[in-house]
Amino acid sequence: VTLDRALIELAQQGDRDAYARIASMASHRWFALALRIVRDHETARDVVQGALVHIWRDLPSLRDPDSFDAWSRRVVVNACGTARRRARRPVGSIDREPAEPSVGDSQATVALRDELERAFARLSVDQRAVLVLQYYEDLPLAEIAESLGVSEGTVKSRLHAARRAMRAAIEADARLPIRAEGRL
């Protein structure tokens, strides 16, 4: 889903209704992003509410409306960082219905989820963000860099470190065939 450039320009010029339209579309995406980074519903709600106001306030400073997606994502990721510091509470897991076992999902066992959740909680917000943008949002490297406001080289090294940490967590789960490969 791409937001219309004309709509973003209107919101930049102070059109509140245009912004309401943008927000009604994008806020769910931002929520999905924030939730995957902070792993807690209430915190993610706070993050997005704050980001919604922040993005409105700073929209006029966005030079190129075409980079709205990356720019707004950056605001959300930054808000995840500050929200977490403010909260100073352990990061819980996303509460959800137990997933239906399915053919493609056979390895995502409860034990593995716990391992993943724990390992993810030990990562920095920057590292989590890079994983979420890479694996959940499925963004190209250049856009991840733009969304985080860092160079592509930095994205690569963060991604490398984050993947290594997550790999260790998966390997710790004895039931995984990946463990049998025995290669770090």
Partner: protein
């Protein structure tokens, strides 16, 4: 087995889990705060004055929202069956089918590669508001052979520059009312058809085709884009000098349509915009009904003892597409008493789910929206119903 790929797969699968959405009250609360928050403007980068509101932005966005919703939650919404009577004239009202939540497929459509994703499927238009329903008046029915023009002698305006041709093959499933479904305005169909018209200008009301057979329809879609399409500037320039039969047929407001709450709502909307240009008013009414947190989409609206669905929506602030579309149509007809804006109701379906060239449209997407008449352009669609599937 490549363990890197394995890791990619596990991480992608794990991060994809869950389909949570921001609670609607959070969005409302944040927008409330937005209303109290001034934008930070740098003094060095002056901005152009407020640009014309992009119609493409307005319209296509609503559709995009509907589409997002489709992919996630349409099966959870209840159907709004639009009952079409088999009497001498069609009637659009709000009778509900029992067990309406079944996600029956209404029809499928084969569309060209690269066809717009946001096609509203039109079935019929209505000119007269009957407080709780819409009907077609003063028309006639003309038989048209397969492949002949459906618009011969019609006043429907289809300027080539403002429309794109599109062809679709419709296969009726649960929708068996014998009404031609068309993306935009139908021009030709490869079946024996009866064209029903409204008024002296032969405005298209509906095209009847055999109820169960597949057919291929050629149609023209309004280009709702800024690049030479139907731009706000063009619609503002259309003026309000309407043909007589349009002004006669499409501006009537029956007694009782507007009660005290509807009049207050109209005054509120009129106060929200200084412009009295028909296009600006249409945008204002549509935006108000669609965006105001005071209004809620509900297929079981709160009880209301008024005969008019317009008054009921204004009073209870709950309703579904028939309420919202009727309200927008009647508000526009009432906003400028000296020269009312002509409007009509359209019955049809929201865009379905596209897979390759095949679009599948379930019965739950039955919908009603509004068209506003602009001289030189024709009937331009507006959809004031809140994006129910997003906020529900």
């Amino acid at each position: 087995v490549n363990t890197d790929l394995e890791l990619d797969r596990v991480l992608a699968g794990w991060l994809a889990e869950g389909a949570e959405r921001l609670p609607a009250e959070d969005l409302s609360a944040a927008l409330g705060q937005v209303d109290r928050t001034r934008q930070r403007r740098s003094l060095t980068t002056g901005r152009a004055p407020r640009a014309a509101l992009g119609l493409a932005a307005r319209f296509s966005l609503g559709v995009v929202v509907a589409l997002i919703a489709l992919s996630t939650a349409w099966t959870a919404t209840r159907t709004v069956p639009l009952d079409v009577g088999q009497a001498s004239t069609y009637r659009l009202d709000a009778r509900w089918a029992a067990g309406a939540s079944s996600p029956d497929v209404a029809f499928t459509a084969l569309v060209p590669v690269g066809a717009p994703q946001d096609i509203y499927w039109r079935a019929a238009t209505y000119d007269r508001f009957d407080l709780d329903a819409w009907s077609q008046t003063g028309g006639s029915t003309v038989g048209v052979s397969a492949g002949e023009s459906l618009l011969r002698g019609s006043a429907e305006v289809l300027p080539d520059a403002l429309t794109i041709p599109i062809r679709a093959t419709i296969r009726p499933a649960a929708f068996r009312q014998g009404l031609l479904l068309s993306p935009g305005t139908p021009v030709r169909v490869d079946a024996e058809a009866s064209v029903r018209t409204i008024g002296a200008g032969s405005w298209l009301a509906a095209v009847e085709v055999p109820a169960a057979a597949a057919y291929t329809v050629e149609a023209r879609l309004l280009r709702l884009d800024e690049n030479g399409g139907v731009s706000p500037a063009r619609l503002r320039a259309a003026g309000s000098d309407y043909p007589r039969d349009v002004a006669e047929r499409y501006t009537a407001v029956p007694p009782g349509a507007l009660g005290p709450d509807a009049r207050e709502l109209l005054a509120t909307i009129l106060a929200s915009t200084a412009s009295r240009d028909p296009y600006d008013l249409a945008v204002a009414v549509e935006a108000y009904l669609k965006e105001s947190p005071r209004f809620r989409y509900d297929t079981n609206p709160a009880a209301c003892d008024d005969a008019s669905v317009v008054e009921c929506l204004a009073r209870t602030r709950t309703g579904y597409c028939l309420h919202y579309a009727s309200t927008m149509a009647i508000m526009l007809r009432s906003a400028l008493p000296d020269n009312p804006v002509p409007t009509r109701l359209v019955q049809g379906f929201l865009p379905g789910e596209r897979s390759g060239r095949v679009e599948t449209v379930p019965s739950v997407l039955a919908h009603a929206w509004v068209e506003v008449y602009f001289e030189g352009v024709g009937w331009v669609p507006f959809d004031p119903t809140p994006d129910l599937r997003v906020t529900r």
